[in-house]
Amino acid sequence: MSAYLLRRFLYAFPILLGVNCLTFALFFLVNSPDDMARMQLGQKRVTPEAIEQWKRERGYDKPLFYNGEASGWGRFTETIFFEKSLRLFLFDFGSSDAGRDIGYDIAQRMWPSLAIAVPVLLVGLLVNLSFALFLVLFRGTYIDLGGVVLLVALLSISSLFYIIGGQYLLGKLLRLAPISGYDTGLHAWKFLVLPVIVGVLSGIGSGTRLYRTFFLEEAAKDYVRTARAKGLSERLVLFRHILGNALIPILTGVVVVLPLLFLGSLLTESFFGIPGLGSYTLDAINNQDFAIVRAMVFLGSVLYILGLVLTDLSYVLVDPRVRLH
């Protein structure tokens, strides 16, 4: 197991290096620092001096890969690639093109993102599991059929509709929750109610349908027949035998997204005015702030790899048949 973890850790380096090279190529070769400066400074007072100064202030005036003017290791370290891309490996994100410390911003904005994403995940899991179990208990009946029709309907509605509809109904008409905004500390809770409800609702269609399929798949297996032939009640068969096995794909599916919860949601956060990492990324894209985008892409890749490793580990915990070598 430890050998497996160490190997996966070593594999992560070439993957992340590849991700870095790709984003670097996208942001510096396609879109040169001169273009960036011109966009940031606006169209009006762009003089070559202003561009040079903008680049100097942000360290974009160095060569891309190889610095012939420096000496020793400096030839490689005093380059844009080293300073802007390879430093990400130390989680040193540098400062944004607007001059703010990215690492500090991320640490600040992580919490609002988590404050929405974690409740949405947990409440959603609970709701979807219960709903799916309910449908499976009534499988083959009209309750099951009606439930599936409802799920497909829920699934077919765009998530934008849930957001806007929720804001209109709960926020504007019923005045139960503020439409958007955020507060510091514990006062934030009333701003979280609406996004969490909307987040859970928009996930019911796909989540419940998937879990129902997992349950039905297990219910058709031979060991379930064995359990019934033992004389177990339908309740025991469902909760002890079927649920135990169906939870394996469900849990591992949840584990893979756990790390990504940090990144928040682009849509929800911007619509509800939550100052999380999702809206941070979206704002950065709008402002053409490539330092932030680069940092977020790297962070996303790291978290994704972490998610995959965690998934493998969770298999070992919940499925006695799986061993990692």
Binding site: A3, L6, R7, R139, G140, K221, D222, Y223, R225, T226, A227, R228, A229, K230, G231, L232, S233, L236, R240, H241, G244, N245, I248, V318, D319, P320, R321, H325
Partner: protein
């Protein structure tokens, strides 16, 4: 008969959707006896079991009838009372021990469920009783096993656990649905002996559901033959095997391969089981019955109850003659032709990787030094239990997997040394037929396309029209209609699909066909058709077969030479008469004795203890010695190859 039946089934009819899968079933099981329900796939045997337990699939329902267990009608019980019966008085074990246990619960937890429910035990008493149960079914080290999961056990051990679980509720009747079909013969012998012993100890009655006539003959007291949802014949099993009354029963017995029938074609049953969504106006077997008269098609035959507890549903039962003992047909001794394939020192090792950099740490020695010699126009059988490496030998000869060492001389050319490009011409010479005809045809290709693929790929018949003519000719050669060309594999039955696979192999006009368990997924009557076809093709075209099988009666019928394989090595090699009549190696003797036989004449079953060891850590010296009844200290040395005759050798130190 004065004793009261334990289970009495009367007029039981069951529907599955619109199919009438069971029609008016009547039988009873007495305390302590073994009653067998015998039938081919799709005849409704499993549906009978599920009907008795009231565990039919969602679209199934019992239409009419009564099922009395100890005088209580199970079909009238409310569901909660029925749950007390399931596992408590009526327990069941299933065909697939691999999938019938819950993979995420420990054996102890699964055993405890029944003990808590039916015996009302709790706490310490549960684990004590569970240990006793595992001991009773012969599982070594039961205390440790309780904490283990099903995947940590072999197939035979899992079936023992299933039996222990069924016994936990101390039932009166055990329904065993093909309990040994997924197991090897030596393991099958162990499990059947265990069931017999449990019956003696506890007075348990067993309802045995099986397609295997040999298993029935060796274990059942009485039996019923099921065909297309109906019982055609019942009776004590001894009387049945002496003189089956129904033509279908006779055909079943006659279609069994047997060394006595060598050289002659096996009896087959033409056609297919009729679809069950119709109302029958005559005998269900009439369309396939060679004796059928006018009346058989027009009237439904009534049930004739005879003396000695026999009964039959046939108009012509009185006219069926007793079974004629098969006279051995003296086979034309074919000229022992020149050697076509000579394999020497074949080794196939699969690396075991591990550690941080996945370095090779050891090897699974799937094939560890195998010598074979196949002559032109002959059949060499490679016999062994699952996991012995026989399929790996086949794949290695065709160079479908990498070879570790050894030579494969085919027609003077060493295939093992050839590069892939140089090997291509030989693809035409050697072809293969696989075990599972359902999985070995591409479902997206037309049957004709599947057969023509080899001709096209090897550029043998470039012209599409000529290719089509050739495929049609092949279809007819294997006994299929030319219209099969335009159809998809799912439209055919298992036997027909195996014919398609044979046609595909024949397409490129090979000289050698590797048959990898070609009939083990098929029913007995269909197996007879395929064996007849293979035999006829060999005679017509002079084909050589390397026949891989675990079924010794098939091998005895078809092969001229036999190699017995165990854990990657060949233990004994000889002509089929020599192997069958004078087996030398203790393993060969045990294997032969463990095959269930209908007319057992002499020898006792030699029961082997334990199971096949792991090929990653084979025992030192003779691989077989840990299970061998004759083993001694000198078996720790590599066994010598002892020649018994020109054609017969054995690898055993005891035969020096």
């Amino acid at each position: 008969m004065s004793r009261a039946p334990l289970l009495q089934v009367q007029h039981l009819s069951t529907q599955l959707g619109s199919l009438r899968v069971l029609e008016d079933l009547n039988f009873c099981v007495y305390p302590g006896e073994t009653f067998a329900l015998l039938g081919e796939s799709g005849c409704g045997k499993s549906m009978t079991a599920l009907s008795l337990l009231r565990l039919l699939p969602p679209n199934g329902r019992i239409v009419s009838g009564q099922v009395h267990l100890n005088g209580r009608d199970l079909l009238q019980l409310p569901e909660f009372a029925m749950r007390q019966v399931r596992g408590g008085q009526l327990a069941m074990i299933f065909q697939e021990p691999q999938t019938s246990l819950n993979p995420v619960l420990t054996l102890g937890q699964q055993l405890a469920e029944s003990l808590r429910l039916h015996r009302g035990l709790s706490g310490q008493a549960i684990s004590e009783r569970a240990v006793d149960l595992l001991k009773a079914v012969g599982i070594p080290d039961p205390e440790r096993r309780l904490g283990e999961y099903p995947h940590q056990l072999s197939g035979g051990m899992k079936q023992r656990v299933m039996i222990a679980m069924a016994l936990a509720g101390e039932p009166k009747l055990l329904i065993a649905d093909e309990p040994t079909t997924a197991l090897d013969v030596t393991i099958q012998a162990q499990v059947l002996a265990l069931l017999k012993q449990l019956q003696r100890d506890t007075g348990l009655a067993v309802l045995l559901i099986t397609h295997d006539l040999g298993v029935v003959a060796e274990t059942a007291d009485r039996l019923a033959v099921l065909y297309a949802g109906q019982i055609l014949e019942t009776g004590p099993s001894q009387a049945f095997f002496e003189r089956p009354l129904h033509p279908y029963s006779r055909k079943l017995l006659e279609s069994l391969p047997d060394p006595q029938k060598r050289g002659a074609p096996l009896a087959t049953i033409e056609g297919r089981v009729p679809p069950l969504d119709q109302r029958f106006s005559g005998c269900r077997f009439a369309p396939r019955c060679p004796l059928a008269q006018e009346i058989c098609h027009q009237e439904i035959p009534p049930w004739h109850q005879l003396d000695g507890e026999r009964g039959v549903r046939c108009f012509l039962w009185e006219s069926t003659p007793p079974l004629v003992p098969v006279r051995p047909v003296s086979e034309k001794i074919r000229e022992a032709g020149e050697t076509l394939l000579q394999v020497e020192g074949l080794r196939v090792h699969f690396p075991i990787r591990g550690g941080l950099f996945r370095r090779v740490r050891g090897a699974v020695k799937a094939v560890d030094g195998v010598d074979l010699c196949l002559r032109r126009g002959q059949t060499l059988a490679l016999v062994g239990e699952s996991g012995c490496g026989k399929t790996t030998v086949g794949k290695a000869i065709l160079r479908l997997i990498p070879i570790t060492a050894g030579t494969i001389q085919y027609d003077g050319q060493d295939l093992a040394r050839l590069r892939p490009r140089a090997l291509r011409p030989y693809r035409k010479e050697l072809q293969i037929i696989f075990q599972d005809p359902f999985a070995s045809l591409n479902p997206r290709l037309l049957v004709g396309e599947s057969i023509a693929e080899g001709l096209q790929a090897l550029g043998l018949v470039p012209d599409p029209k000529a290719r089509r003519r050739r495929v049609v000719q092949l279809l007819e050669q294997v006994g299929l209609d030319a219209s099969a060309y335009e159809r998809y594999p799912h439209e055919f039955s298992g036997g027909q699909r195996q014919r398609i696979c044979i046609a595909r192999a024949l397409a490129v006009e090979p000289k050698l066909i590797l048959c990898d368990e070609p009939t083990s997924a098929l029913d007995v009557s269909v197996q007879a058709q395929i064996l007849n076809l293979l035999r006829r093709l060999q005679q017509d075209m002079g084909l050589s077969y390397l026949f891989i099988s675990h079924n010794l009666s098939v091998v005895a019928y078809l092969a001229q030479e036999v190699a017995v394989m165990y854990l990657g090595r060949i233990l004994e090699y000889g002509r089929v008469e020599e192997i069958l009549e004078a087996p030398q190696h203790p393993y060969t003797r045990a294997l032969l004795s463990a095959v269930p036989q209908i007319y057992r004449t002499k020898k006792q079953i030699i029961r082997l203890p334990g199971e096949l060891p792991s090929p990653a850590q084979p025992p030192p010296g003779c691989h077989f010695h840990p299970r061998c009844p004759e083993a001694g200290p000198d078996c720790l040395q590599p066994p010598p190859k002892i020649k018994r005759s020109e054609t017969h050798w054995v690898r055993c130190v005891r035969r020096r």
